[in-house]
């Protein structure tokens, strides 16, 4: 930047340490011959390694951190992998530029990637909202769980309180599921709630009747939860991210291959994020024909792990018990399951509670409390990391803007 070298970036230092950092990887390959081809090869291998580490069941002592696929921790690692690859890509481009090996066509490819990446920014924002939504669920679920886990006997008061929190949660889940464009577990919960609670006083309908607003605050709540525009659709956004992403032909040298690799990694990360958390119109994104296009397996070292990941994710989306969920995130699944279980345990509970029934309730509550605790611990770092991805994309785009300015003619 000619105006100033002061890059005024106030983005907080990344809270994530890159265990397998770029530098250490580079040191491993210090013996490689230098030059563009070596760099290209190293870059592709690093992308392959980063993706490979995300593969589940890589063996106990394997490289994988052992997080279950689509858990909060796993999503964070996926985003970390994206950040790492993008960082490598930046270095790769910068080196090519320094060598003067970046002709106009190469710069154009880089710009194209940045344009593609910028489309992921809205996905980041939508995911941030989705994570926020998860926190709301967690708070309600935690009320139910903690009421029932408190020491002392469980009386009707506690059961009623827990039941109320669960039915409030059901309202949210129904709305969010509807917003994501699917139905299922949540609608089960909703009907269940109506059956077991009669007119649920927890529902905001009363306030709506008495209050000024004509819409129920529940629907209000849903339609205004998203900061992206009303018409925004996660599945359309993903399509835009993947648009025109085609494998370069063999003769296309230079940046074509790394740009393609980054496009695929970006698409995968965005797609996984949308699949994992509630987003507007997310269910359409999981349809088979919206999956990222498969890169030719043999042509790129990173293609096999990427394809495996993609297949695993798609399988998760197709699972019967997940198909209609508001997010494939493991914690959502557990939350829904244990909410369901607790609701049934409470319904089956006689007053006063004793013996097996009480144990059932407490066990279900403990399960729910555990997932709530996991969410409390995991969601904030996840939100921060989503934001970090946002920052990284912006930063490299801005660098692109500045450097294309100098090189374009």
């Amino acid at each position: 930047m000619p105006v100033t070298e002061h890059q005024g970036s106030s983005s907080s230092p990344s809270p994530f340490s890159f265990g397998r950092s770029l530098l250490s990887l580079r040191r491993d390959h210090a013996a490689m011959p230098s030059g563009e081809e070596a760099d290209l090869e190293a870059f592709q291998r690093h992308v392959a390694a980063s993706l490979g580490e995300l593969l589940p069941g890589e063996g106990e002592g394997g490289s994988g951190g052992g997080e279950e696929i689509l858990s909060v921790a796993w999503i964070r690692r996926l985003l970390e992998a994206f950040i790492l690859c993008q960082e490598e890509f930046r270095v790769f481009v910068a080196q090519a530029r320094r060598r003067g090996a970046l002709p106009a066509a190469g710069e154009k490819l880089v710009v194209e990637f940045h344009e593609r990446a910028v489309k992921a920014l809205d996905v980041c924002n939508a995911a941030r909202d989705g994570v926020d939504q998860l926190r709301r669920w967690e708070r309600l679920a935690d009320i139910a769980a903690s009421v029932l886990l408190a020491p002392g006997e469980i009386h009707e008061g506690q059961l009623r309180r827990a039941r109320k929190a669960l039915s409030d949660l059901a309202v949210l889940l129904v709305d969010d599921t509807a917003a994501s464009g699917s139905g299922g577990v949540a609608s089960f919960l909703a009907s269940h709630r109506n059956r077991s609670f009669g007119r649920a006083r927890a529902s905001p309908s009363r306030a709506a009747v008495a209050g000024a607003s004509s819409a129920t605050s529940a629907s209000h709540f849903r339609s205004l939860s998203w900061s992206v525009s009303r018409a925004w659709s996660a599945s359309r956004q993903l399509q835009a991210i993947g648009a025109g992403l085609a494998a370069p032909r063999a003769h296309e040298a230079g940046l074509a291959a790394p740009v393609y690799a980054m496009g695929c990694v970006l698409h995968l990360a965005a797609w996984a994020l949308v699949a994992a958390v509630p987003c507007p119109d997310r269910s359409a994104a999981l349809q088979a024909h919206h999956l990222p296009a498969a890169p030719p397996r043999a042509a790129f070292p990173w293609a096999p792990p990427l394809l495996t990941l993609q297949e695993r994710l798609a399988e998760e989306g197709k699972r019967k018990d997940r198909r209609h969920s508001c997010g494939l995130l493991k914690e959502i699944h557990v939350l829904e399951k244990s909410t369901h279980k607790l609701t049934e345990a409470i319904d089956a509970a006689p007053i006063p509670l004793f013996g097996d029934r009480e144990a059932d309730v407490r066990e279900a509550a403990a399960e729910l409390a555990a997932v709530c605790a996991a969410m409390r611990d995991g969601l904030e770092p996840l939100e921060r990391q989503v934001r970090e991805v946002f920052h990284r994309i912006v930063r490299s785009r801005v660098e692109g803007l500045d450097s294309s300015m100098h090189n374009a003619d």
Binding site: P2, H6, R161, A210, L224
Partner: protein, 641 residues
């Protein structure tokens, strides 16, 4: 009355209002305890007292173990905890009801005034910002039509307004304190957020904050975005200083000092469940977070857009508005961790906007450098690029308060190197900037821009085949630059007298060069040398040489008249001065030439073929010069007129 009788009485009061019992739930219009004027005050007070009694007399509910009154639970515990639950469910409904039904209609118009003083700086930069390097507003009114920048740092600050009437707030506080005391603070906070969040969102809609994704913003034309930025600045002031500030106050009035988000430590989730100490603004943060992030999201989307010169001034406006709001944002959002992240984001966006401003300025410098010489402007008049760059520069000087803060480094070596790599670019040596000690980086940039412009103009001047016209072109353009500088005190003080002197010198040089190359040959016709025949008889004037002189003078002058009437000097004063300067050289020379030699011609045949013009004819003809219009085919002659 002993304790158990009291307790029973309290339970009875509470149970009358059991909102979860099926029998009581027949009608939706069932009365509420707290309902403004229509509510039953006495019953409401009685209910609250009963809740207090329950809490005082009954063993605490297990969920409220955090409270100090942790007695062992007796057999009545079930009944009491159930009554507490009934009371709390009731209070939750009441809380929701009061919060949503008693909300005052927000006076959006009054709030919008919080952004009113911004209008000083709106519309200012339209002319320059809508032009690009090629399409230029030909009229020169840019700087006059835009007001000088006036500081708008003295704005009304935070303005908290009542979102609910005082009595409703008191009721809410009364309810919230009961719920918190009974360990139901989280439920209460939940209800609070679920009612206020849509209200906040609706207020922002009414203020004109649109929900635009980054993609939407990227797709919009800059013209449309300019209008949106203007609206956004206004709305953001009202949102931050009015809506958010008022929300924080409401939340404080209801929840201050109440333990509302104590997460009970449970058997399974032990240490990890202990969270940050509860603060009264947690429900506040929950209510406004989405709206705030969305509000700032627009500014963020603008900050990462493509950088083109026309965006500079609106982005500075946006940057300044955000900077101006940051202290308030910090004040309003500093209280909790969640809210603080909003401040952090706003600050990030501000610095992105600052980056964008810097980026755009260098983009502009490069655009000036690279603007290719395509075709020469006819008549050597002021090039659109010159107008554009100078209007832009003078706007830059209008914004010098902000830009001096943002532009902290001089045109960097990389810019100059980039310039060198470009065949159009001036060489480094040529562009050595005068760099007085006290020159600011912004001043250095403006000078750099003008230097680059000068250089670019020299490239454009070389397109003219006629050297005189090429000099005239430079003269016109440098003159324009000098005048734009002198017209704007801010610009003048930025670039300083030294550089202005250099520019003036360049102008004088161009004017002199023009006169030399256009007129030397013509004036040479009027010299005596070569007319005297040496070694002949008597006075020795060669008539044929003299005739030839007159003939060639006439031809040269007619040619100059024909051509230079089509040339253009748009500045009236300069045009006049130039004509006078030409006349002053030409007319006396011609007059004296005539005086010395006319009798030689008049004594011969057809004198009118050689002496076609009187000195006055020439004086009149010079007035046709530089009008930029196709000249009349012949020079009007007074003798024939």
């Amino acid at each position: 009355m002993d304790g158990s009788a009291e307790l029973e009485a309290a339970e009875r009061v509470v149970m009358r209002w059991d909102s979860t019992s099926a029998s009581a739930s027949a009608a939706a219009d069932e009365p509420m305890l707290f309902d403004g004027a229509s509510g039953d005050r006495i019953e409401a007070e009685r209910f609250l007292r009963a809740v207090d009694d329950l809490r005082r007399l009954a063993p605490p509910s297990p969920a409220a173990v955090g409270s100090p009154r942790c007695l062992s639970s007796g057999s009545s515990a079930g009944g009491a905890s159930s009554a507490v639950q009934v009371a709390m469910a009731r209070l939750e409904d009441e809380f929701r009801h009061v919060l949503s039904s008693r909300a005052l209609d927000l006076e959006i118009e009054a709030l919008a005034d919080l952004g009113g003083s911004l209008s000083i700086s709106s519309d200012r930069s339209n002319s320059a910002s809508s032009a690009d390097l090629q399409v230029v507003d030909e009229d020169d009114s840019v700087s006059s039509s835009v007001g000088r920048r006036s500081s708008y740092r003295s704005l009304p600050s935070i303005r908290e307004i009542d979102l609910l009437p005082d009595d409703a707030v008191a009721d809410l506080r009364a309810i919230a304190s009961r719920m918190a005391a009974a360990g139901y603070g989280r439920e209460c906070a939940q209800v609070y957020a679920s009612v206020r969040k849509p209200a906040v969102d609706a207020s922002l809609r009414r203020l004109g904050v649109e929900r635009l994704s980054i993609g939407d913003v990227q797709r919009l034309e800059w013209k449309a975005l300019e209008a949106k930025i203007r609206r956004w600045i206004r709305a953001a002031r009202a949102a931050v200083r009015g809506v958010f500030a008022s929300e924080r106050r409401l939340c404080f009035l209801i929840f201050h000092d109440l333990p509302i988000s104590n997460i009970t430590i449970t058997a399974t989730a032990t240490a990890t469940a202990a969270t940050a100490p509860a603060t009264h603004d947690t429900p506040f943060a929950e209510a406004i977070k989405g709206a705030a992030l969305q509000l700032f999201g627009f500014a963020e989307a603008i900050s990462i857009g493509r950088r083109s010169p026309e965006k500079l001034f609106k982005i500075i406006d946006l940057h300044d508005a955000l900077s101006d709001l940051l202290p308030d944002v910090s004040d309003i959002f500093a209280a909790s961790k969640v809210a603080e992240s909003i401040y952090v984001q706003a600050a990030e966006i501000r610095s992105r906007l600052a980056d964008a401003v810097r980026g755009i300025l260098s983009e502009f410098e490069n655009a000036v450098l690279r603007d290719p010489p395509k075709t020469a402007v006819p008549g050597g008049t002021i090039h659109p690029l010159t107008r554009y760059v100078m209007n832009y520069s003078s706007l830059i000087s209008d914004y010098k308060a902000t830009l001096s803060e943002l532009i902290v480094s001089r045109p960097s070596a990389s810019a100059r190197l980039a310039a060198e790599g470009n065949e159009l670019a001036p060489s480094l040596a040529e562009l050595e900037l005068p760099e007085p000690e006290n020159q600011s980086p912004l001043a250095a940039h403006i000078i750099w821009i003008i230097v680059v412009l000068e250089h670019n103009l020299e490239g454009k001047a070389s397109l003219y085949k006629d050297t005189a016209l090429s000099h005239l072109f430079l003269m016109n353009n440098v003159y324009y630059i000098v005048h734009k500088v002198k017209d704007s005190p801010d610009l003048w003080s930025l670039i300083g007298d030294d550089y202005l002197k250099r520019l003036t010198g360049k102008f004088t040089m161009a004017a002199t060069n023009y006169q030399r190359s256009a007129w030397l040959k013509i004036l040479n016709c009027l010299r005596d040398e070569g007319l005297h025949v040496s070694g002949g008889f008597s006075s020795g004037i060669s008539k044929s040489a003299l005739r030839e002189r007159f003939r060639s003078f006439n031809a040269a002058f007619e040619e100059a008249h024909r051509v230079q009437s089509g040339w253009c000097v748009p500045d009236t004063q300069l045009r006049e001065e130039l004509r006078i300067s030409i006349s002053e050289k030409l007319v006396p020379a011609y007059r004296s030439f005539l005086g010395r030699f006319r009798h030689h011609i008049e004594n011969g045949k057809h004198p009118e073929l050689y002496i076609k013009y009187s000195a006055e004819d020439l004086e009149i003809a010079v007035n046709d010069f530089f009008e930029g219009v196709p000249p009349s085919p012949h020079i009007r002659r007074r003798s024939h007129g």
